[in-house]
Symmetry: C2
Subunit: 378 residues, 2 copies
């Protein structure tokens, strides 16, 4: 509820009944008007362009009506109501200075010692609240396990169906992760793999990865996940200048292990939004190409930061490890959580299937579920 | 060919027979060594991590052997040869200060007056050089037409097959662009649409879009493409502070026009790499959400820059327009080139099919073709 509203020609100042005050500009209010001539009632899309708003837009009147804000704009002589709750959730008149390298709201970073978020195949399919919580875990922690699934090839595609769409690549709609004779990728060997994000040589990277276990009786082959955002936070705390170097210059990544494929990217290892929010990690020793965008006089410090980030990532205190059983799978946010595997050999076999998908579908499905059935008190 | 090589424990300095001098650090050379213990001979992937390199890595000897550089590293007592040509293409010892908002090498910006790059369906399928040039046009100009294709539903999927993979979304593997009774998106009406990039509310955005014409006998409905990078360059030249605001703060985008879909993103309208290279444009009046990440005291200037960018984009001097005939299609780099359509109505019909794909596949196919058959003198 609003307590009061005052205005100048260019700014409305409102006071909420909580005592919070906030200012909104005329141009911002007009662009975001919620009336049916500005926003399509059917699909919510904006019907006007910024150029349709008069350059001399100004506020002629601003008053509180039934607790909401009613504004009259000139020269259009147009009156629009802005609900108090809507205004409260869209306040921008506050201190926007935030920490360099901070994580977004809703993200919780972690390291070894947490219980891996997990759901059961049958429940996640049968019970919307279980599915919602499982998707919410991927959004918050960047990974989650799924247990009790069928031991059938292509079952991983049903995991993607829970929330979105497979991203097909040169590796196919999905790929086999098992030892091959002439491997086009070191993933298809028994070698251990340092914790990494997948396909940093691809732009855009696949933002989700699903790894699904069909056989795992070999010695070794445990999976380890590491929170790249926690690793970045540690680097920032220990070596802020090194953090700034890894965020401030693009690395290069490359893959050309198969005929007809030559993938290259130029993106930083630590990606920040322009206002300093952590939005992505790319880390992969196998596919790092020569870094040629770092100035000569900063290259040694850049490499020192790269080494330090690698040490943090390799630190056993960072990783959550588990050995997948047949019918178990896990999903990682490939822009954040690194995955590793221990080497394996000897008798028995290890067969995983992997595929990529994208976060837009997962976060959309989650948001739609949260709007449909707001979270119970828990 | 190298003329000479000198070294300190941490740096090798080489002189090419062109007279160019360049320095390379010990740690950089060791990490990028090309020997079979460092790089898998089969697939080219790196077998070591940065942590495998001794912290006291140093250069013990550097000499020119048959025109190439031979370096011996201690304490590993490891000797590695770096071909002269490889060194020349990986020089980083030069002035890395480049213009803020510059375009990447290989990008040519344009505006009205250029001939739309075009290829013929049969030729692009039959002749590798035609296909390569068509893909190269998309890489350089961000769009290209394809004429003479079949007038069959789903033909657009065959366009994607030429270079990569469809990105399926909530709109399906592809979608129908024609007038609907209860449109979930304004694209499915006869309204004109301001030039825009598609799906900025999705993260990652689809980086390519294909629009394929099956019927187009209605009045109007012309397609217009606008180079968003040229528009950004113009804004930067006319209003550098405004350019910095649009690049410096995230915008917000949102779409929830269908049940079960709620897509949101927080990304800037003008996206730069951390070292200032233009990497993406997001511009869409219909799906812009309230901008809440711009400080209050910068909001009016931000909106002024947004309006100015919109005016540049809407300027008839910017757009290349054409009316698609049945069997014709075009592809746009959706991170760069905006597309618009004029409104249509009256007798006749307009039916396009659209789909999304990603640039990684296109650029990989192009790079592999260029390596296989280097460009003829032309």
């Amino acid at each position: 509820m609003l307590r009061s509203a005052t205005h100048t020609p260019t700014v409305v100042t409102v006071e909420f009944d909580t005592g919070t005050q906030a200012r909104f500009h005329a141009i911002w209010l007009r662009d975001n008007a919620l009336d049916p001539e500005t926003r399509s009632p059917g699909n919510g899309q904006r019907l006007i362009t910024v150029g349709d708003i008069p350059t001399d837009i100004r506020i002629d009147a601003a008053e509180v009506v039934d607790g909401d804000l009613r504004v009259t704009f000139q020269p259009e002589d147009k009156s629009v109501t802005f609900p108090s709750d809507w205004l409260a959730t869209h306040i921008y008149d506050h201190d926007q200075d935030a920490d360099f390298g901070r994580t977004a709201p809703g993200i919780t970073t972690w390291q070894r010692g947490i219980d891996a978020p997990v759901a059961h195949w049958a429940e996640v399919h049968a019970t919307p609240a279980v599915k919602r919580n499982w998707l919410a875990a991927v959004a918050e922690y960047g990974f989650a396990k799924l247990t009790g699934g069928p031991t059938e090839p292509e079952a991983l595609l049903k995991v993607a169906d829970l929330f979105g769409y497979v991203r097909e690549t040169n590796y196919g709609p999905y790929f086999e992760v098992r030892t091959e004779v002439n491997p086009t990728n070191l993933a298809y060997t028994g070698l251990g793999l340092q914790a990494h994000t997948d396909n940093p040589y691809r732009d855009p990277v696949p933002t989700l990865q699903i790894l699904y276990c069909l056989e795992n009786s070999a010695e070794g082959g445990e999976s380890i996940v590491v929170d790249g955002f926690r690793a970045a936070e540690k680097l920032r705390d220990q070596n802020p200048d090194g953090f700034a170097l890894l965020a401030g210059y693009p690395a290069r990544f490359e893959y050309k292990g198969s005929d007809g494929v030559c993938l290259r990217s130029r993106r930083p290892m630590i990606e920040l939004s322009p206002d300093g929010e952590l939005v992505g990690i790319r880390f992969n020793n196998r596919s790092s190409a020569p870094f040629v965008d770092v100035p000569f006089d900063k290259m040694e410090a850049y490499y020192a930061a790269y080494r330090q980030l690698g040490e943090i990532i390799d630190d056993p205190a960072m990783g959550v490890s588990f050995k997948l059983e047949p019918g178990e799978s896990f999903i990682v946010d490939n822009t954040r959580v690194l995955h590793a595997r221990l080497g394996y050999s000897g008798a028995g076999s290890r067969w995983l299937q992997g595929c990529y998908a994208d976060k837009d579908g997962l976060l959309s499905t989650l948001a739609a579920m949260q709007m449909a059935t707001p979270e119970a008190a828990e």
